[in-house]
Every structure is written in C-alpha cells, then in structure tokens.
Symmetry: D2
Subunit: 359 residues, 4 copies
Amino acid sequence: MSNTIGHIFRLTSFGESHGEAVGDIIDGCPSGLKLDVAEVQRELDRRRPGQSDLTTARNEADQVRFLSGIMDGETTGTPLAFVVNNNNQHSKDYSDIKDLFRPSHADYTYQTKYGIRDYRGGGRTSARETISRVVAGAVAKQVLSQIGVHVYAYTSQVGSIALDKDYKKYSPEKIETNAVRCPDEAKAEEMAALIREVKADGDTIGGVITCVATGVPAGWGEPVFDKLHAALGSAVLSINACKGFEYGSGFDVDGRGSLVNDVFVVKDGKVTTKTNNSGGIQGGISNGQDIYFRAAFKPVATVLKEQDTINKDFQETKIKVHGRHDPCVLPRAVPVVEAMTAMTLLDFYLLSKSINRNS
Amino acid sequence: MSNTIGHIFRLTSFGESHGEAVGDIIDGCPSGLKLDVAEVQRELDRRRPGQSDLTTARNEADQVRFLSGIMDGETTGTPLAFVVNNNNQHSKDYSDIKDLFRPSHADYTYQTKYGIRDYRGGGRTSARETISRVVAGAVAKQVLSQIGVHVYAYTSQVGSIALDKDYKKYSPEKIETNAVRCPDEAKAEEMAALIREVKADGDTIGGVITCVATGVPAGWGEPVFDKLHAALGSAVLSINACKGFEYGSGFDVDGRGSLVNDVFVVKDGKVTTKTNNSGGIQGGISNGQDIYFRAAFKPVATVLKEQDTINKDFQETKIKVHGRHDPCVLPRAVPVVEAMTAMTLLDFYLLSKSINRNS
Amino acid sequence: MSNTIGHIFRLTSFGESHGEAVGDIIDGCPSGLKLDVAEVQRELDRRRPGQSDLTTARNEADQVRFLSGIMDGETTGTPLAFVVNNNNQHSKDYSDIKDLFRPSHADYTYQTKYGIRDYRGGGRTSARETISRVVAGAVAKQVLSQIGVHVYAYTSQVGSIALDKDYKKYSPEKIETNAVRCPDEAKAEEMAALIREVKADGDTIGGVITCVATGVPAGWGEPVFDKLHAALGSAVLSINACKGFEYGSGFDVDGRGSLVNDVFVVKDGKVTTKTNNSGGIQGGISNGQDIYFRAAFKPVATVLKEQDTINKDFQETKIKVHGRHDPCVLPRAVPVVEAMTAMTLLDFYLLSKSINRNS
Amino acid sequence: MSNTIGHIFRLTSFGESHGEAVGDIIDGCPSGLKLDVAEVQRELDRRRPGQSDLTTARNEADQVRFLSGIMDGETTGTPLAFVVNNNNQHSKDYSDIKDLFRPSHADYTYQTKYGIRDYRGGGRTSARETISRVVAGAVAKQVLSQIGVHVYAYTSQVGSIALDKDYKKYSPEKIETNAVRCPDEAKAEEMAALIREVKADGDTIGGVITCVATGVPAGWGEPVFDKLHAALGSAVLSINACKGFEYGSGFDVDGRGSLVNDVFVVKDGKVTTKTNNSGGIQGGISNGQDIYFRAAFKPVATVLKEQDTINKDFQETKIKVHGRHDPCVLPRAVPVVEAMTAMTLLDFYLLSKSINRNS
C-alpha cells in the first residue's frame, strides 16, 4: 500500500530527491536468478539525467548498489535491497520556493495531507523516485526474459507530432538510435526539434508512450478486480505526470463489434487471433497475443517562466523557478513505463503459478 | 485480490450469470449509517436490463436483499452481505456454444487459465457481476453524501457522436432525462438513433463515459503507488469492456506546461485553481477541485451476426450467438462507473483518517 | 483484513447469530475440485449445537448451500459463496440484556468501537460465526487430501483433566468415538463427567485442543513475518475464546539446546529428524515432519449464575443470562481448529507454488 | 507479506547477517513526529550483542542511520528507510558448515524451499534480522508515547526458574537493573547463574518473556480475523525461536467461568474490571485494561557440542559449530518483543482512526 506495489513480486520504495539516497526493497524475487547487475545499471542509465541535450542538465551518476538477497551472484529468495545515493543536489536552488506552492505540483496537496513537505527538489514527489521503479523493473525483465517475455516502449507522440498507433509498423531496434526514444527517425527529429524549441522558451511539452510485451502466454491475470490491464493501468498511472492509459483499441470507440472483435484462428497448430484489438487481454487475462498499451504524459509542471501562485499563508504572489529541469519527460519515462510493465507481468506470472490449473 | 477491491472499505464479490445468485460482502462500511435500502434499489434499477429499447430485452427484476450488518436500519460496522437472485436465465440459449470460443469474449482465456469455464451466459465474466459493484457503490454514495461528496457520470460519446470534453458545459440534472444517459438532449437523440440502427443490424457499438466527483476535500490519495487516480483507473478499468482511462487533460498532450499548469488563486478565503487540467488530483492526492475522468468502452463482443471462430478442439468453425444482448453497454455502464468511483473515494477517505495530519 | 483471512485461498465471512444467515465467500479455491458437498455438511454437523448432552440444547440444522463457483459438481476457480440460514433464534431471550454489558463478552468493546452493537445472541461475536470457518476448512481439507495432507484435532484437556502432551500416544480414529472428541476413552469419560457437573452448576469450563497435520512436505511457509507457525497461531487465536497457542516444545522451556535440538537422520533415503520438538516447522518453514500445536480455550463467558456488571449508563447492576449455552466449548471447537489449520496450510501450499524453486 | 508486516504502519525488512547491511523501510509513520534518533539508538543498544557476559561475545556497534522520511528532525509522512551496517562478520567461521544442515536451524528448510541458502551466520535466518524490528518498534513507541501508551517486557522464566505469572507483582523500573532483564533481583541472579552454567557447558537454555502494554484505550482491534490478540500473537511468534504465545489467563484453563469472568465495575466514573483475566482484550478488541501476554522461547539451536546431523548429499555425519553465540536468547529478546508489540498496537491505533465511530 502506498509505497508498496505487487502481490508476490513486491516493490517497496523510499527516498527523497534531496535526502541521502533513494532505494527499494524487492520482496518475492525468485531464487536462483543469476542477476546481471551491469545490465540493471544499463537500464538505470537509460533514465539518467544529462544523457542528451533534450533532458535536464543535472548530471547524476546514479550507481545502483545491492545490499542483500544475493550470494555468489545468485538471488537467494530473500529481499533484494538496493540504494542509489543522491550526489548532485543543489538544495539551495529551492530555498526561495520553500513557502510557495508551485502550480500543478504536489506542494499544496502534500502540505495539506501531511502538514509538512520536503520542498527541496520536490522531495518524495520528485521523479528521482522512479529510480526505484527502473531498478526493480530491470530485475523483473531478467526473470521474464528466461521465459521468453520481452517488454519494450517508445515515445510515440510529443506535443502534436505523433506516430501511427499501430506498433507493428515500428521496429524496436530503432528506439535507442535517437535521444527521443522514437523508432521513426524522421518523426524523432521533428520531436527533438520541438523539444529544443520548447526548452529554449523555458517551457515544457507532454506526449504519449507506447508499450508492448511479447511472449506472454495465455492465462496471466486475475478476475474480477485484478484484471491484468487494470493492474497495468494502475502501475503506469502511478508514474509521475501520467494522465491516461488505454490498451488495445482504447479510446478508438467508433468501430462496430462485428469489426472490432478478434476472430480466433489456428496457425501452425496454435490458437491466435486475426486482429488484436483486445490488446492481448480478454476478460482481464492474457490470451497469448502481444500486449500493448499507450500512456499519456502531461508537460512537466516546472516551467522556467514566471507564474502566478499563492504562498503558504494563502496570499497571491509570483513564482519563478530556477534549477535544471526536463523540458519533456518522455524520453526518460520510456524505461520507467517498461519497468512498471515488467514488474506487473512478473507479479501476475508468479500468481498464475499458484492459481492456474496445471501450472 | 482478484475478487476483492479496497483497503478499508472492501468489496468481495461472487456469482455467475446462471448460478443461483450474484452478491457481495462489503467489509469496512462505517457503523451508524441509516442505510436507505430503497435508494440502493433505485441505483440498481439504473443498471437493470430491459429498462428501455436501447438495452437488452432480458427482464431481470434484480432485487437486492441484505443478509447481515444492519440492525434497526443502521449499519453496525460488521460485514454487509447481500444477494441478488438470478431469476431469468435461459441457460439453454448457450448449450450450442458450449464448445466454442466466442470472439473477443473471455471464453478462451478462462478455459486456458482454469481448465474449465461456465459457458452459460458468460458465467463469472457476465456483466451481471456488475450488480455487486452497483450495490456497494450505492452504499458508498450514502456515506459520501454525508460529507458533501457527490458522484455523477454520463454517456459522453457513442460511436463517433461525442460531447465536448468540458463537463462543466453539461448539467447533471439532464442525465436521467433520456435512455442514453447523456445530458445533451440533441446529442442523446443522435446517439439513441445510432444505437437503434446498430441493434437493427445485429451489431454493437462502444463509446465513452465521463465521470465527475464534487466536494472531495484536499488530501485524499496515497503516494506513491496508491495515487488516487491510479486507484480510480484500476477500479474503472476492471469494469467489463473498459479499454481506457484518462483524467484531467488526459491524452490531450499538445499544450505547453505554462498553459496547462493550474495556477493557484484564493477565492473567498479558500484555495482554488484558475483552471483544472489536473482533474482535481496533484501528486496522486486530491486538491479540493472537481475530480473528473473519462472511460472508454469497446462495443459489446456479442454480435448477432455469424462470425468465424474455433472450437475447443482448436478447429476453425462458425459461430452465431442468439439470446438477448445489449447493442451498446454505455447507458447501463453509467451507474457502474459511478459505483466504482464512489467506492474508491470512500476507501481513500477512510484511509485519510488514519494517515492525514489532524484528521 | 478484519473479516478476510488468507493470501491466495481467502475466506471472507459475514453474518450475525440473529440475522438472516451466516456465510462466506471463498476466493482462490483451485479449479477442478470435485467438491463433495455432503462431506462439507458432515464437517459442519461436527460443530452443530445439540449433538450431545455436553453441548447447548439449541437445535440448529445448519444446512450449507453453495451459491456460486461450481459447475457440474466441479469448482471453476471463481468465488465459492455459501450461506447457512439462521433458523432457530430466540431473539427475545436477549431483550433483557440489551442495555447490559455481559462480563467477559465483547458487548462493551463493540459498543465502544462502533457506537452500536447487535445484542441478540452476541451478534457478530457469536460462535455462529465459526460456521463460515468450518465450511471453508472443509473445502480446504478436500484440496489438501489430494496431495496427501491430513489434519485432525482433539480435546486434550478439560479443566485440569489432561492427556499427555505427546500426540503420538493417541489414535485419531478414537476421536469421534465420544462426545468430548478425546481419543483416550477413560479420560473422555472423566472430562464428560466434569462438563456435566459444571453444566448442572450453571457454570462453564475451558480446556486445550491439540491439532496435528500429517503429510505436509518440506518448504511451506514464508519468512520473515509470515512464518507458517505465526500464520497458524494467528488463525487459531482468532477463534472465539482462544487464549493461547504453542507449537512443538512450546512453553516447555526447561530443556537444554543439546537435548531439544532435532537431529537430522536419513531413513529409507529420506531426510527426517530423530525427535520433533520443532513441531514440524523450522525457521517458519515446514520441514516434512508432523506439524502439531496446542490451543487453549477459556471457559465460555456465558454462565447461568447471577453476576455483577454495569449497564450502558455505567451504573452497577446485576445480570442473569438465560438461554441455551455450551458449558464447554471444546468438543465443538475441535472442527473449528481443524478448519483454520487446513485453510492456512492450503494457503501456504498455494503460495509455495509461486515462490518455491522448481515448484 | 513475507518480509512486510502491518496494515497502515508497515515494516518491510531486508538483510542477511553477513551481507553489507540489514535494514528496513517503515511506511505509514505519522507525519509530524519529532523523531528522537538517540532514543532509537538506545533501544537498539538493548539488543546489541556483547552487552554482558550472558550474551554472545560478538561486538557489533550496530549504528542506525536513517536515509529518508525526515526533514529538520520531523517525520514527513513518507517512508522512513534505515540501514545498520554489518561490520563484525567472521564469514570464515562458517565455511566448514557450508554443506551441513545444522540441527533445529532453518538450513534444511531454506535449502529445500529456495534451492540455495546463505550459510554464513544463518544469512536471512540470523537473529540480526531483529535489528529491523527493534528500530521500527522504537519509532512506534515514540508515537504511542504521545497518546499515553507504554510497552514493557521482561524475562519471567529461564529454564525452570520462573517468576509468578502476575505481572503486577513486579516493577518495570527494576527490569534494566540486571543483565537478564528480570525485575526480581533474586530470581535474576539465579537465572544469570544458570545461564553462565549452561554457557560453560557449551549448551543453551530457553525461557519465557512477559510483556505488558498500559494506557491502551478501549476500541483497538478488528474482528473477526484481525483480532488484536491474534495480530499480537502472529507478530510475536514471528520472532526467531518463539514457540508459544498466551494472553490473559492463557493456558491456565482449570478455572470455572463464573470465577474467570472479568466483572465490570465503575471506578472514578470510568469503566474498569475487577479482574483482568481477559488480558485487556475482549472479542479481539482492547477494553481499556492493561494488555499482557507471555511468549515462550526455545533454547538457541547453536550449541558448541558435537551433534549428529546430515550433509547436503543426505549422508549422516557429525557437526561441531564454532563461533560466538548466545547461551540464552531471552535478555536480548526483551526489546524485540516490546518492538513487535509497539508496532502492532500503533498499527491498530491508526486503523481504529479509520474505522471506529467518532474517531
């Protein structure tokens, strides 16, 4: 609850942006995994600030360090704890906004809820919190990989520059060829240009991330309230700045049932469907087809322009935020979306072992 | 898990469409509520089949009967169990599809997961399961009403006939004036005509429901993984046929941060925001503004046209479903969306009493 | 939480003694079980009032009726709901104690917690609530039986009349030969005589139940906080009137480590231990030996003698309870202890399938 | 689950004895607590090895370091993470038992469950894991103290040397006057002599700890399965080496109901009971009287004598353990029992704020 997610594979997260460290305890990771820590670090580097001119200029090394749960390189089934130290904080950047509520941030809501808030860099509400997610997701990916499940995501829209919704038109190999993490190179350049323009203006822009999971067998997901897509939706919506989630045909609701229905066919002796408007999930349970969904992200709330706001005494005033911020969260959010997806899938795989017949 | 939802106010649901009854246990309902059972029944009547020519012709009386948790009309704090008998099943309608997997239904996934499925009327995957949701939501609404929180939803799109996204343009009083549950009467007629046309064709159509909660004070919602919108998203996505969820600005991602941000202002001594692109939730916690979201529903999978499919021996064949089905789920899904929203809000209100400072 | 127990195999219970029914939803029962409902009823009959002169004279038929989760006699993996109607209530027996707090009952604590209480027959705090447990336990036993796990319990002490602590001295076949459910016939007669004497005096007496589970393989139980014995302890302590739990050597703490330690030996190619002071559980995980524990039950709080007490206005007064009550809860608690044990073991078996290597 | 305990105030623990650190995330600690870290350290020092000649000679400094959740000395409502480094491990002490299953340890069960075990110092099964409990308990105590709730425990039995069961005969001020943590000085000396004798013999001895909570108001505890004593039982039984739990009259079952019942009386305008055989809990809910219970601890499994055992190839062999071990766990377990009690009470206090009428 609150800072814990998952049923069997469970992540419990801690840390503020300007505290000593952020980190996590992963409970329920299967024993016997030869954990490739370098690979975990590579995933973490994908969300690292300062990786291109499209992201914040903050340069955070973000080295993951595991404290438990591993012996001789192998997971033991006991909790995997890890920390990532906070090394590059500029806490004084924030002293002048200590008593102000930044528009569309969580300053006001945290203050109201808790009677106190860590105003330095957003405290717990900082996107540094997603470090925990990426590390746990990287561990989950390694387990999933052993059973043939792979997850990838990409930036499919920035502002109004959008790819086609059909993920099959794009090759996952192209995603990491550019800083936007968009598999269409021409569109990627347009998106990058837009992000630079917005950045130069001290402003920010949002977009959409598409995510795909391949190799998921039929039978993962729990009716009625723990439907697989409901869990994926919750996991992805819990990411900072995420405002929407749709899977399969999603908000495209103008087709008729007879056309939208996914007809079953048998191909090479295996059940498959002619179309996949279901997004790989029927009745909340995976059906063996690709799982895919789209997630909307709003523009980063921190703009470098002066804005109206109020202070903690409820007086109207002006605010102008300094510091180093992302003009667009999308490129760095791609690995976070993958991570939440991988964790959720692994959790439901482990659940299915308890619940499914002949598992 | 699975058939239970909620932390403090918890619903556990049971029942198949062609079993003896559907029903539910509500645990965590506050004691001392003078439960208006007639009002619960009125809510349930809103989801009842056969209420207009736009819905299925099945005529299910669906009378709710409480078995526990109430003394002299008042809740005692112990579990509220209720049942709604299944009276109008035509199980023989389904015998000819016993061995077939209906396209875009959960037949195949249930069979794969459990090695058995109740094929009569969809069994557990039938929308009759939403009876439990509506009853529990009706109870939640009565508790919320005492603290000034109100929830309403309406059909905002059918096929490509759509209202403006701004819910403030529409009056909640108009919702129940027509069978579509659309507060714009002209659009409602267009939608009704489309539904009738689709129905006449043996086909089905999807759409969008918009939901609004007013009166929610600042401070409900739990970071990091139990953000209020993530819980709402999960609850709503768990409804049969729901394919997408967006709150506030949602998938409208082409605005820049400086314009999308909700500037704080003080009005009559109270904190409010000039705009409400946040949808009433910031950092996962309610900020005192209206909460609003949109939910996408696919066309009902049961069409009365012949379709290709496979049987349980994985042979390709044809299927033609008979029986009485909804051509469009939207009108009857409106109270279900309200119910999931009310339950989730009440649950987070109760949690906030444990967690918030000075609560 | 509260009225729900279990992780995967989960029981959610409802009902007051003088409401319409008591019952339950079992979520997580494996699909494909040919449920023997008659056998479930037989287990329920073991806790039935009026079965001998040692129990209350109330004659409650207590017929279990399943409402969902079964098709053609086989569980489908969806929730098993059941109800047992309340048919033999004498609510008027309780009207004169409506405003009194019975000593050592839960009247005062419920009133304080909820501001209301169902005073008729103890309401939710009545031992009728254990019907739910016995039914769910009977289902669990049938699943466990398929993998060779069997659970039995017996009355091992009434007042100061006690069996030897070593359960191996007693044959489980003897348990049902007498109304006390004590496998030593001579002691059973002494116990029965004591219970009759106490009953004649309008008084009550407590005792101890011993429970044994055979056939549990090594590897069930979750460290650190969900140790198998901690879960068993919690499950058993949650039974009305239970005041203590000890497993293995328990409160016998005067032996030295070198003597108490269970030495591993190999017998017929299988690992076993020479002694079993660990009670079949080491480090919170089953080790393949018999699991056994003892549970203490206080005398029933309802005595038929006049007692001092206070009323709801906090004035001192006298109370004299009428009605039909058990002089000794032990004989009817035996199936309840077995039920909680079976449910807990099944839950941890299902969890082990998710978690254990090579499961 | 597994490595997490609690509903609202939740502890998630990690760490092996010979890893880099042990530690914990506390989620749900109320905001606004001026955390006295020095006081937390003092509690931790009470469980420190090497504090007297009755405990292991290992000298572990065990300094607690908080990584998050605190700003300017005040809790912020976000997770409190802490670590305690492992500094004094002698891993080589264990290399010769790498392939042996120590009698009555968790070596065999972990190996069976996970297919791997960290054999160094017991790994996750080491009592170093209780560091997390003591730190979290120390935080809980500080919150409880603000509402007048205090918890203390003491050694009430070592081997067959036992105090009277009535805790009112002993003054909590005397507990820390001796290394055994026994409030009766004469008995404490006897116990100390016994422990020294056992230690000299390379052997170990068990005992009983009594725990008392004062100031708990009526109304904490959740029926039916989350009864307050069931939760306390589970929490305490989850401590290493704990074999039994009884509260109130517990296993003393020879009294009749008319004598054991706690008669309500009014004293100074407040409801109280003449006796307290209920141990402060009725129907699973606190009744305003002192809560008290007893917990049995077996002798430490690590004896320094040669014992029979088997190796991982299931061959019979001998084992002789070296290293520095406690001859009696009781003195150092006292703060652990207090910690589990404080955490459980705080958790149920926070729950009661959600659930109780007029809370």
